[in-house]
Symmetry: C2
């Protein structure tokens, strides 16, 4: 119980700290100082800074998968109830979820910093890559389920759709934060999902 509270205190300040100071300078000691947690407690709970990041990432990924499932379920429900729903409505619902979860500058900076770390030091990146794959697997299952409900599962390769859509999303985010106002993230995502579904069918 107390461990849960400690974890929460660390997570609450960590993203901000890393985003502000950069991966290198925002050492564990900084995060501990700002959250009032003893370094020895940090190292009892986590294997190190990489383990800590991946556990934060996995928690966010679980949230994203859960909200995607919820958004898709709503679409499925609307179809069953006979409300008019076409592919455009369905993809709009999904991209709204993606956009809502994404418009967090701090989180974008943190994950981009960590991607750089992972590319520079592939030896520490194994669990991050596993967490990314786990997230895509979760999204793939949710999308496949929705496509089954729509009778489209034979036509669209849901894993490939998710792989492409998450890549588009990542690129759109960079443009969004670099040139605010130039790109509307949700529109870009939406167009990409529609286009990808089109191209993959």
């Amino acid at each position: 119980m107390e461990d849960e509270a400690t974890r929460l205190r660390l997570v609450c300040v960590a993203a901000e700290t890393f985003a502000e100071l950069g991966w290198r300078d925002a050492a564990v000691v900084q995060v501990c100082a700002r959250s009032g947690v003893d370094a020895s407690d940090f190292y009892r709970l986590y294997d190190g800074v990489d383990d800590f990041f991946v556990s934060m990432y996995a928690a966010r990924a679980d949230e994203l998968v859960a909200s995607t499932i919820a958004a898709l379920n709503e679409v499925i429900l609307s179809v069953r109830e006979g409300s008019l729903v076409d592919a455009r409505d369905a993809t709009r619902a999904v991209t709204r979820v993606f956009a809502a979860g994404a418009l967090d500058r701090t989180w974008w900076i943190l994950t981009t910093e960590y991607s750089l770390r992972a590319v520079r030091h592939p030896e520490v990146a194994t669990s991050y890559i596993a967490a990314r794959q786990e997230m895509r697997k979760g999204l793939g299952q949710a999308v496949r389920h929705a496509l089954e409900m729509a009778g489209l599962d034979e036509l669209v390769d849901s894993d490939r759709l998710v792989q492409l859509a998450t890549a588009v999303h990542r690129g759109a985010l960079a443009d969004h934060f670099l040139e605010p106002g130039q790109v509307t993230l949700e529109d870009l995502d939406h167009l990409a999902w529609l286009a990808l579904i089109d191209a993959l069918t």
Copy 2:
């Protein structure tokens, strides 16, 4: 003439140095030391480290635009000569250029580092953003010209196509370097271009 040689010496070591040490630690002094250039010469040639980066970026962007134009001209020529060319061939030619210029890990690390800097410090990012827009403008003109030749320019918004395609490309690159082998950059780009042309028409 001598200034040109000095610039070249700086540029040759700069990308590697920044990629290896990170934006923060690879200060101008490091780049100068490694290239044997006096810091006073650096500051005579460039307004500072941001000006230096943007001038490297703009040079690469010019190359990318030039090779895209060349690739598109080849496609246009094949069409005129009556060789069978469909949209798939045309986009394949363009994405080959994108992929060839992109599979440079050092450059990806450097531009990603700089994107983080630009998002953290928008006040230094103005000329970087202008250079990005200039590149998209160049690509847009090349694509528009090719679409005119193909009689498709009324159907496709070339600026929007380029905006989306460069965003896709940026996201695909991150996946490519993080999970080598999982994503084939050229395939992903190609699928995206086809899909985008489809969706935008």
